[in-house]
């Protein structure tokens, strides 16, 4: 448990808050506002859970990026999953997918009207379900970023070894670096620095962020998910900005290496190949996803059942896309908390606990007090 408490020490937190305040003031004296994008959904959650936004100076803003894999799932993907359930397949999925809106329905509704949707904690459950229901087809909803991809793709590995043929993946794997490129290339979005994800970086390595430093002169700091990690990360970013530097700084060295995890990277390359991917709200980003290689078509639900995923229909008023890009803060969305709530989520950012809007709804204090002001 020391591994939890050591990174939540109130006295150390206070010191960081003081350092951040000093650096924030120095930047303010130069007339500078700092927009830091925290890329990962788990960072967004932790920032909310520990009330970190409240501890930052007025001119330092944290913007939530596209790092919640559930939030960036296109409605068309949910439509395809529901169609597969309609054909009698058992859908196995991580928990927070069951509330993501499709074009007209979601997986909770699908389950209520008789679809067999099972929430799993671990991808290995898919193999267990397949073995105990040998007369049924099991489709695992294979979403996630680099961190989740390797354990999920091990379903195929395990199925081949165990001779299990009735399991397949409906893939919508996504890669973080192409999305970060797309955001920096969009001139409408103001991003001064990236607070880079913790666990994704453990797989891809801190070197994945080097191009952003050289091409865009944006400081990139890899930080863990504990409150002290995040404060330390913000502190590191401000220090770079004060010196007008842009470096990749790995502050999560207890887990992340520069080259990442070569074993995991090899496993991904063995089973998967780059594909264009649809990001809800952002659109298609070339080579920003991974799909199963042709030799594993028997485990690829789209190919196995001849049901390709099409781009779906989003709620007309939903501005999750702008929220995911960091263009709009949740409270400025006209649907936020009036129409769109965690009980009745319209957009994916409200669905997942990691979603930016859900995190704001759940934790925000200062923002709610300020009403719609952004």
């Amino acid at each position: 448990m020391n591994y939890i408490d050591a990174f939540r020490d109130p006295a150390v937190a206070k010191q960081f808050v003081r350092l951040i305040a000093e650096q924030g003031r120095a930047l303010a004296d130069q007339g500078r506002r700092v927009h830091i994008m925290e890329v990962c959904g788990s960072h967004t959650m932790a920032i909310g859970r520990y009330g970190i936004r409240e501890l930052l100076p007025e001119n330092v803003e944290l913007i939530s990026g596209p790092g919640c894999p559930v939030c960036v799932t296109d409605p068309g993907y949910i439509d395809a999953a529901i169609a597969l359930a309609g054909k009698g397949a058992i859908l196995a999925t991580f928990g927070d997918m069951i509330r993501v809106p499709g074009s007209t329905s979601n997986l909770t509704q699908c389950r209520v009207s008789g679809g067999d949707v099972r929430v799993c904690y671990s991808p290995s459950a898919a193999i267990e379900i397949a073995q105990s229901h040998s007369d049924r087809e099991i489709v695992f909803l294979a979403i996630g970023f680099e961190t989740t991809i390797v354990p999920v793709v091990s379903i195929v590995d395990e199925a081949i070894r165990a001779g299990v043929r009735n399991v397949s993946l409906l893939t919508a794997f996504k890669l973080v670096p192409p999305a970060l490129h797309a955001l920096l290339a969009d001139t409408e979005i103001k991003i001064d620095a990236y607070l880079c994800p913790a666990h994704v970086s453990a797989i891809i390595g801190s070197q994945a962020y080097e191009p952003f430093v050289t091409d865009y002169h944006v400081p990139c700091v890899v930080a863990g998910f504990e409150p002290l990690d995040i404060l330390y990360g913000v502190n590191g970013i401000l220090a770079q900005m004060l010196k007008n530097e842009a470096r990749v700084e790995n502050q999560y060295a207890r887990v992340v290496r520069r080259a990442g995890n070569p074993k995991a990277q090899a496993r991904m390359a063995q089973y998967l190949e780059p594909v264009d991917a649809v990001w809800r709200g952002i659109g298609v980003i070339p080579s920003s996803g991974l799909g199963l290689r042709p030799e594993f078509a028997g485990y690829d639900a789209e190919k196995k059942f001849g049901m390709p995923v099409h781009i779906g229909q989003q709620h007309a008023g939903c501005r999750c896309g702008d929220v995911i890009k960091g263009k709009l803060r949740p409270i400025a969305c006209p649907l936020f908390s009036s129409v769109c709530t965690p009980d009745n989520p319209i957009g994916p950012c409200m669905v997942s606990a990691e979603g930016t809007c859900a995190a704001y709804f759940k934790y925000a204090l200062r923002d709610v007090q300020q009403g719609g002001e952004t």
């Binding site: 909310g48 859970r49 961190t147 009980d343 759940k362």
Partner: protein
């Protein structure tokens, strides 16, 4: 397959097998007192002027989990509901809905637990019922218990009596039952995993009735956890509640599993906890009294009542502040 050790539909049919089930499983455990002779209803002496009456149904999955089983819950749940209303629990009814094919060995364990828990609480199972449903129409066993208690004198309880400056007390760690069941449901095999806190709070209630009107309100934080109870109390009111994260009592195993699954322990259910609102003046005396009682050793002050209209706010360990919201629907583990 040896079917005579499994419950059959005929065990609920009213004939020979029903009689056998009652005589083998029910009478030996509960047959003394009002149930003796198996009358259609219990005839009870009137215990006083004012009674407290409640009912609850139990549908937990899995039926057995670290720290207890559905039998313990069926007693503690109803006993605790009576207790937090200021009642001294006296009698319970016990209704079983059993699924065809249910193992008698498990049934026996569950009924032993009912007996054990009822004895420990000093309540009598006074009447009951048994039904059997076809395979696939139940989840092993469902239990309903109703309870009657005597209203203790001295209490003047009401949510509306809670005011600014009051203290929020709890008798132990948060969310242990919820996390124990969740771990058991997912077959998470821990060396030292979370253990359900299923237990009775009646002695804790009996120990404070003499504080009379200084005790404002009591509630057991079951489904929805502490967060749901606190939010319900402040909703639409001029008052709020301030919690301090560093004061939250958490069992190490519960905390570890909650961290792993990304679930807020404030949202997880307890089955042996009591939240009590009282004036600041009597809080230390109540805590002292509780800490000397079984199931009260871990009693602490969880927070205070503020003027922060309708909001439950937590001061975090880093010194920030955040809203403590009600849980939404199912508790779902996060993806990463």
């Amino acid at each position: 397959m040896n079917t005579d050790r499994l419950v059959q539909l005929a065990h609920g049919g009213g004939g020979r097998l029903t009689r056998e089930l009652i005589e083998r499983e029910i009478v030996p455990r509960f047959g003394n007192g009002p149930l003796s002779g198996l009358p259609d209803g219990a005839t009870l002496p009137s215990p006083g002027d004012r009674l407290v009456f409640t009912t609850d149904s139990f549908v937990v999955h899995p039926l057995e989990f670290p720290g207890g089983n559905i039998g313990h819950l069926a007693v503690h749940g109803t006993v605790n509901d009576l207790s937090v209303c200021g009642g001294e629990p006296k009698w319970l009814s016990l209704a079983l809905i059993i699924e065809e094919g249910f193992a008698f060995s498990v049934l026996a364990r569950i009924l032993d637990s009912v007996r054990e828990a009822a004895d420990a609480c000093g309540v009598t199972v006074a009447t009951g019922d048994t039904k059997v449903v076809a395979r696939g129409q139940g989840d092993g066993i469902y239990i309903n218990t109703a309870g009657i208690g005597l209203a203790l004198t001295g209490f003047v309880l009401g949510q509306e009596r809670i005011c600014e400056g009051d203290c929020v007390l709890i008798n132990g760690t948060l969310g242990d039952h919820g996390m124990a069941v969740m771990s058991a449901r997912q077959n998470m095999d821990f060396v030292k995993g979370p253990v359900s806190d299923t237990g009775s709070v009646q002695r804790l209630v009996a120990a404070v009735h003499e504080f009379g009107a200084e005790v404002r309100f009591m509630r057991d934080p079951t489904r929805g956890g502490v967060a749901a109870v606190l939010n319900e109390i402040v909703e639409g009111r001029e008052i709020g509640i301030l919690l301090k994260e560093r004061d939250l009592p958490l069992a190490p195993a519960t905390r570890a599993v909650a961290e792993m699954l990304g679930i807020d322990p404030l949202h997880a259910a307890s089955e042996g906890r009591l939240i009590l609102f009282c004036s600041r003046e009597v809080a230390p005396a109540i805590l002292k009294r509780w800490q000397a009682l079984p199931n009260g050793e871990g009693a602490v002050c969880l927070g205070t009542v503020t003027r922060d209209k309708g909001r439950v706010v937590m001061e975090t360990v880093t010194g920030g502040r955040r809203l403590v919201d009600v849980p939404r629907g199912e508790l779902l583990p996060r993806i990463c």
